[in-house]
Symmetry: C2
């Protein structure tokens, strides 16, 4: 029998069969009328998922491409910007803004910390004249989902533009681009949007576009104005990943059919189920035990166990792919993703596999309780 | 009955069913071992198709992304570079090098002209101290395939690095990256490589990497050194378009199974068949009538006929997608692509459709000869 595989990482995430099916359709031309209809609907659906009236610009790129666009279009060398980081993707904002010659004020928290709006207020007051604040909504490396509503409000108070990495959060946890006044929301296709990787997005406010018009950093394929003008005519500036746009159209249709609020609730329950199961077997959470952290659950490896071995054993023995730790957390934590096309039996599969592997490794693990506890927690709608 | 569609443009091109099939497989993780095997084989197959021992760097991007990489990594503001253009994609080199602040010597030919190596020699001598020469192999907007072997030799004589756009030529017409001493060959997935759009490539010589180490233009996702280091560990620097890499692996396997020389011969015969059919019905070629121009055939619309109407009628009445003219050639030419997964019946479909539409538009067209003449020309192995 062919081995069954379980993709339980925080991205790429499982792709629903309806979405996979359109990938296998014969190629069509990106300037043909049938593609334009798909392109128009995808862009409209993105705006709906983003909850914005702004343009959402679509790039054929990894998520980091949309990060880079949000730096290249807003930065002239020497501009002062502020980056809040508490993990791998926050560090990426710092690396990118430095690569573009910004004067970077880096509010660098320990990996796993949750950024505090009042700390941001102090940092902005101290720095003075910050043009752009770069934030991370869901820090995929640690499982922390920040309160970007509060953080964005502080940044707006200081007169800065606000850019948010929502690659792993968009569609999984509440994000109100317009209501929260976020100038640029960066996201990608391969997380809660249930598509293969290869498409990335920037929503752009009028204020962001105005600053882009003055920014002198060189850019071409990631140039917002070129992309915006082309999208207005439903004519991508460069040949887009046609198959992936078709997939996006179908996947966003599925998400909107479920309803964003229902999807947020499902993700909150998946996260709760995962955390409760983890705690039931006696493991320690690395990510916060709160409903907002519904994207990925980061778990400390038991004493004496290398988390990389847990990941390898799950993959090699059981066909289950989860993620290890990044950076300094390598070997120390493992991460179970639960965004996109996930239900509770993906969580119980992950928990049962982790329990089996850790028990076999001789770790002190409570057997036979995690799955039941996860199922109970999933049914509970109460906010913890 | 569902309408049958015929994609006969110079890109995106038809994707073989074996390639479409892998796109519909369940998602896998880009750091999982099964993906690493696919990634390694794709990169090795790319080097084989490129005929290079250099690294071929793979980006998740439109072809223009790999153009941009070849500018961003080689340019410091003020560097003198020379661009040879004779169509839309040559103009793109000029736009990109200017966007990165290069001192651009633009040898700008009329669209449709074939660049002359001796003219390049004179231009280089006059310009002096040119660091990089940017060339186009197959100018998709006009159907001209340049003699890049001779052009590259002239550029090397002048001590410049040579960068070649081979987006629509790689795998269709002979290109010897190493034997011809080309420092950077830029290509993309959606032309002769028979994949969907979304992947783009730069081969990089040691000399190109040395210049990149000194180049000060900001870049991040397109940074060669970051990409090269990651690929050496079979670990993409950013989440790649996993599905498209799987497709590329299969498609390159098909191409190499056919054999590059056999593929070049097939494309030469397809081009010949198309040109002979076009001439037989009394139309005038815009692209040169030579075997090298085997990628796309550009045809002048008959007097009094707008080529855009030909394209629309083919699409709307017959389900056949071909391409119109770009830039100043809009309305004046139409283009039949024949790269990648094409055989002679794709050519006869295009010719029969064009004949029907032009005859109905009242153009003075010889009826009933194009298809037969095309089939005869396809069988002829003699070099015209």
């Amino acid at each position: 029998m062919a081995e069954k595989r379980y993709l339980l990482t925080p991205g790429p995430t499982p792709v629903p069969p309806e979405v996979l099916a359109v990938l296998a359709e014969p190629m069509i031309h990106h300037r043909a009328r049938d593609f334009k209809g798909i392109y128009e609907r995808s862009l409209a659906r993105l705006r709906e998922v983003y909850r914005t009236a702004n343009d959402v610009l679509l790039f054929t790129a990894s998520g980091t491409g949309a990060f880079e666009a949000a730096v290249a279009n807003l930065t002239s060398p020497g501009d002062r910007v502020l980056v809040v980081s508490a993990g791998n993707f926050g560090e990426r904002w710092a690396a990118l803004t430095r690569a573009y010659g910004a004067d970077v004020v880096h509010v660098r928290l320990e990996w796993g910390e949750t950024p505090d709006p009042e700390d941001l207020r102090s940092a902005l007051a101290e720095a003075g004249d910050v043009r752009v604040v770069y934030l991370v909504h869901s820090e995929t490396s640690t499982g922390v989902v920040a309160d970007v509503q509060a953080l964005a409000a502080v940044a707006k108070d200081a007169g800065a533009l606000v850019v948010v990495d929502a690659v792993s959060s968009l569609g999984a946890v509440p994000l109100e681009t317009d209501a929260w006044g976020i100038d640029v929301v960066v996201s990608g296709s391969q997380k809660a949007l249930m598509c293969p990787p290869g498409l990335a997005f920037d929503s752009v406010s009028d204020a962001a576009l105005e600053q882009a018009a003055r920014a002198t950093s060189p850019r071409y394929v990631f140039d917002w104005e070129r992309t915006r003008k082309a999208q207005a005519k439903l004519d991508a500036p460069f040949t887009p990943a046609v198959s992936l746009v078709k997939a996006l159209d179908v996947a966003l249709g599925l998400l909107l059919e479920e309803g964003l609020e229902a999807a947020f609730d499902r993700h909150a329950r998946l996260g709760r189920a995962c955390r409760e199961g983890v705690k039931a077997m006696g493991l320690q959470l690395f990510s916060p035990d709160e409903d907002r952290s519904a994207v990925v659950t980061a778990i400390r490896a038991p004493d004496g166990v290398d988390s990389g071995d847990v990941v390898s054993s799950l993959r090699d023995r059981l066909g289950i792919t989860i993620a290890g730790g990044q950076g300094d957390l390598k070997g120390k934590i493992f991460r179970i993703g639960h965004i996109g096309w996930f239900d509770v039996f993906d969580i119980t599969t992950a928990l049962a596999g982790v329990e089996l592997v850790l028990a076999d490794a001789g770790a002190d693990i409570e057997r036979g309780v995690a799955v039941t506890r996860a199922l109970e927690a999933y049914e509970s709608h109460a906010t913890v």
